[in-house]
């Protein structure tokens, strides 16, 4: 049995846990933690950060030069996620500004961002996915061959085999009915993200992740979505998109992806939510 090493800390507005098994050294875990904290530092909107500086410029109607490498990667990921989710995952969607990603001009080569109207970006869960991706890369580079990383209970990244062999088995409980399970799956070199509109902690109305772009109010129908993808960033964008999607776009996202994308309509359970 290889010895497990665990790093637990608060970052990205949640609790992060890095569980490394084969070949992990304390230094490797410390580096992985710093990778997560660096993403937090770059993408936080709660204290001065490269993103806050960018948002100040965009809200003032100015074009901004972005030099921070993590923020540039995050903008890339946001652009890719917007395309991959038919516009559903949108870091610019915000009821207060009426903004959306189609109003944003991101010139990766030139390192500039501008918007056609004042708006602000919030990477939300995408940041957690990016942070896990970067921490995973740090551990892999350090020779770790088996690890499980989590940012809160909604974002998981597993790489390498489970310490006892095979994949990493997870069960996703029903968010309302504690005795029921929505889904059981095994991860292997994959990321998992869960998004929901019900349950404890989902009732913050300003949460950008739960806005349906182009619609004025936060989406309400009780639903839970699960996405599995190659990267944490992709999984986050997909689960968010699935939970905010209208039926037509939800169907498009789910088509031929029965093993990796799931959406659970919990409307009939609504009476039990309150």
């Amino acid at each position: 049995m290889t010895r497990a090493r665990i790093e637990r800390f608060a970052a990205m507005g949640t609790r992060v846990e890095l569980h490394a098994f084969d070949g992990a050294t304390p230094a490797a875990l410390a580096d992985a933690r710093r990778a997560v904290e660096a993403v937090d530092d770059a993408l936080t909107i709660h204290r001065p950060s490269p993103l806050v500086a960018l948002n100040e410029a965009l809200l003032a109607g100015r074009e901004a030069a972005v030099t921070d490498a993590i923020l540039l990667d995050a903008l890339d990921a946001a652009a890719a996620a917007h395309v991959a989710t038919f516009g559903l995952f949108d870091v610019a969607a915000d009821r207060r500004t009426g903004g959306n990603w189609t109003m944003v001009r991101f010139d990766r080569a030139g390192g500039t961002v501008a918007a056609s109207r004042p708006l602000a970006l919030d990477f939300g869960g995408l940041g957690k996915g990016l942070a896990l991706d970067r921490a995973g890369a740090v551990l892999r580079d350090a020779g770790v061959t088996s690890a499980l990383l989590s940012a809160g209970e909604s974002s998981i990244l597993a790489f390498g085999p489970h310490p006892l062999g095979g994949g990493w088995p997870f069960a996703i409980p029903h968010p309302i009915d504690a005795d029921a399970t929505l889904l059981e799956i095994e991860l292997r070199d994959q990321s998992l993200s869960i998004s929901a509109t019900v349950g404890v902690g989902t009732d913050a109305p300003e949460r950008a992740a739960l806005l349906r772009p182009g619609e004025p109010a936060a989406i309400a129908p009780p639903a839970c979505a699960v996405a599995i993808a190659e990267s944490g960033a992709a999984a986050e964008a997909l689960s968010t998109a699935l939970v905010v999607a209208d039926p037509a776009r939800a169907a498009r996202l789910l088509r031929d992806r029965r093993d990796t994308r799931f959406r659970f309509d919990l409307a009939h359970q609504e009476s039990r939510v309150a």
Partner: protein, 426 residues
Amino acid sequence: MTKDHFDLSRRSFLDRVLAATAGAGVAAAAPWASAAAQGAAAAPAAGPRVRLGVIGTGDRGRALIRNIQKSRNCTVAAICDTYAGNLDKARAIAGASVPAFADHRAMLDARGLDAIVIATPLNLHAAHAKAGLDAGLHVWCEKAMARTIKDCGAMVTDARKAGKILQIGHQRMFHPTYLNALKRAKAGEIGTITQVRASWHRNNSWRRKVPADATDRQINWRLYREASAGLMTELATHQLQVGNWFLDAVPTKVIGSGSICFWKDGREVYDHVALVYEYSGGRKVIYTSLLNNARYGCEEQIQGSTGTIEPELGRIYQEVPPKQLALQRMQQDIRKGSKRTVPIGGATWFPELPVTTPGESLGWGEYDETMLQFEGFGEAVRAGRPLPGLLAQAYHASVASLLGEAAMDKGEAMTWPTDLVAVREG
């Protein structure tokens, strides 16, 4: 305790204070404590002592007498109380050779003192301090300073005009645990401090038994508005000082609500107070005191972005997120060689219960901080120089407690007075 043992523990107490106040940040934030400990450590065991006349020999006055007796450089040279029962009790402690007076003017007229110590009801502090200063004596006075903000200022002004030292009794300012807490806060160990949540909760009437030869107002003066602002001046002053101290500022304003909510026994002061003191930058001290629930006791929770200090408990806590139970179970399973499905709770759903990690000790000490107050005072009197920074802290703590009373009485936000007396020292 034998003499040798006392000298040893005195020395280790002073060492702890000196160690806690060694860093530059702390020396600047608690200059009185390092000055007092350095003075006390250097004070000769022999030589003439500073002669103190104690006015008010009730509960606190007698505790002070015991501490003065432990000090190296002060002595109780006279005692005074208008209530014979308490004067007799003090005489039993101070010894029959110490002159005892029923009137403070007689004590002052008898001369032979360097300073007076005041432990009388709050509304008498200002007049007793003035009498002492007028008699050419230095003054050591228990917190809170005075019954009104105006009288607090007058005490500062009177002492300055008289060229005498005025020191107020705030023993937490000399407590090794508090000084250690300050040191670690200054070192950034709990991040940016944005809030202090302080409480003094008791579950008793706060009413003392009235002996046959005394009146209720005489014994229970703290329950009547003429003599006291109740919980605010008797308890909150200590903690508002701690709040100002750790936030390194005075409040900009205060809002509050007070009521006689439980002990409807004819008292005039609130038995429930809840206040919010605002500081620059949106920082706050949130204060509650009540007399019918003691679970949370007396504490100042000093809350920073990366940790918390609870000085009464003497502990410092880091912000550590709780373990994810499902992953903890996974680790246990793996250690046992079994592989089970891990239930992953969903979108960051976890109950945000209070964190109960044990934290780390800030170090305890024997409680000699009240003695150190007097050793510091003794050295200050000898040098003719007050302990730096102390009077301003005390003045602002008393003003804060009285301003809180006004906010509750009026039901209005009270802004920090702009006409306070400047405390000049040295």
